[in-house]
Symmetry: C2
Subunit: 343 residues, 2 copies
């Protein structure tokens, strides 16, 4: 494939990353959370090229959600300090990454996951603590016992993590801070018993209000989506869009307004946060490879025209694509392979 | 990667296709809609190995939703009669497929798409008619004019298509049949003006009640999902599941019931039809790489155990995976690459 020069040469649908907005988001976060105060979560973009930019901005430690993300980051030379912030029961592939010289730390929340770390050849763990989101993580009162058990088996316990994920999209920042404080009180209680240097928590929604964790696991801030953009106090811009083509248009008739169809849909957009947004129009519904929408001005939606669609949720949207394109306006200035997909 | 022998050797999450149920679904549909009465839609599975089974069951003509699907089917030797049932504005890649000797027919619904077919080197089209779903498709009254315009430019007009997609999940079969009849009356009116051999419509939900189309574009019937399984009169079994591992478990406490977490989520499950189903439990919510659920018997959800999750929507779920595994019980008997992803 010849490298396209403009978005008009791209096979649609295609993910675009606005270079200027990406740089702004990167800088805004690095100013607020410099160096190790941010442990960027690569699950949001699954792209080692973007991780390299975060590394160059001073963040050398990363968060991963899957074994594949850990492997890919290490293979890309970004394995200085990788935290797999999820429980895994077969860690042999992670042990193989450790054997290459990368630093891999894994979340554990049970005797079984501690056993898996030992058997898989992983040497460092954090104790994952349930701070209020009903998902992984042990009870606060179990953290010390798990840390003791891990150390007794020869593992290095680097500290604690606890994700207040249920607070990320709370619209009121004061409410978000107050509830984050309650969650982090649990994490600090656990940390006092567990010890270690790491108190890892947070995300894009709480990066500013979570002043208790010493590292924030934010990922979405770099590219953003319409769900996070709806939170007024977040300073990050929507750098990610999906360029599409108008493939069909139906004029108004019999009291039904006119609509247009673009060639995006359920195969190119994560739908768990609902429909995407099209500026200058209203999305009606998504099919596998079509979005039906009502342009404010139907005359402006000519068949063949390129339309930018804004995804509602960055992470599952990117997971549907093999690559993104770095753009400056309509100019394509680089390719961003989504090279950390799969498990 | 060594080929795994059982599902216990698979890296989870992993899509499983039950061989026996797949065969039953294939046979049930082939009995009801033999040969060219079915034009299987490959968008549901995006897998040439599964298309090969459909071909062997007597269906030599296929439906595609993307250029990539057309290219991949032709390259796999399944290009006897491929219908791209969607509008495309740049058909040069399709013209290249035609030049290899494959038969490619494309849906058109506008002067622009007719022009694109001519310029791209595609020689055969069907007129896409809006039969009630607000998406692509021309007005019934415009069909004859478009057919004339296409023929004037040297294109072969093979007939009409019109998708009654909004009726697929109507629970009452009588209501579904009645509304399908209304939609197909529109399509037959258009066909009377357009001519040609093809009257293409329908899907898994209407394959039995749509007795007006002469070919049905069903795809989901082969693997199925919980949305279609909720329609009581459909005879197809859920052959697709996602095998996962229990990675964390929290006992009941303070009046909150116990829950477990498996390693599936928004990156492995299409979410537009809502949460997946876990037999023997209730799904609470999905995160990127976790599903939090309440097992009916928490003692049965041991950490490390393999749990099968049933996707709510087959098409966007498969699009998140590079491969599926053909299984007989817990035995893995084959790999099914999802080789038609992307655009």
């Amino acid at each position: 494939m010849t490298t396209p020069r403009t978005i008009h040469e791209l096979q649609t649908p295609a993910l675009l990353v606005d270079h200027g907005l990406l740089r702004e988001n990167l800088q805004t976060m690095s100013n607020a959370r410099p160096g190790t105060q941010l442990r960027p979560h690569v699950k949001a973009h699954k792209c080692t090229e973007l991780a390299r930019l975060q590394h160059a901005a001073g963040h050398q430690a990363f968060t991963c959600a899957t074994i594949r993300e850990v492997e890919g980051m290490a293979a890309a030379g970004l394995g200085t300090d990788l935290l797999l912030a999820n429980e895994v029961l077969d860690m042999h592939r992670l042990g193989a990454v450790v054997a290459t010289g990368a630093r891999v730390t894994v979340a554990v929340d049970s005797p079984e996951t501690i056993k898996a770390a030992v058997e898989g050849g992983v040497r460092e763990v954090v104790i994952d603590v349930n701070v209020g989101l009903p998902r992984c993580g042990c009870a606060v009162t179990d953290a010390a016992g798990l840390a003791d058990a891990a150390r007794a088996k020869g593992l290095e316990v680097r500290g604690v993590m606890g994700y207040e994920g249920h607070l990320m999209l709370l619209p009121d920042p004061d409410d978000r801070r107050k509830q984050t404080e309650e969650c982090m009180a649990r994490l600090l209680t656990a940390h006092a018993e567990v010890g270690g240097d790491i108190i890892s928590a947070g995300g894009t929604g709480t990066y500013a209000v979570n002043t208790w964790a010493n590292e924030i696991q934010a990922g979405s801030y770099l590219l953003m989506d319409t769900a996070y953009r709806a939170i007024p106090d977040l300073p990050f811009q929507q750098a990610l869009s999906l360029v599409t083509t108008v493939i069909s248009r139906t004029p108004a008739a019999n009291g039904i307004p006119g609509w247009a169809v673009v060639d995006a849909g359920l195969k190119s957009l994560g739908m768990d946060h609902g429909n995407p947004t099209i500026p200058g129009g209203t999305v009606w519904f998504c099919s596998d490879e079509q979005v039906t929408w009502q342009p404010d001005d139907i005359a402006a939606a000519q068949i063949g025209e390129r339309i930018r669609v804004l995804p509602a949720h960055v992470d599952p949207t990117i997971a549907l694509h093999a690559r993104m394109w770095l753009v400056d306006g309509d100019d394509v200035i680089g390719e961003l392979p989504v090279d950390l997909r799969g498990w």
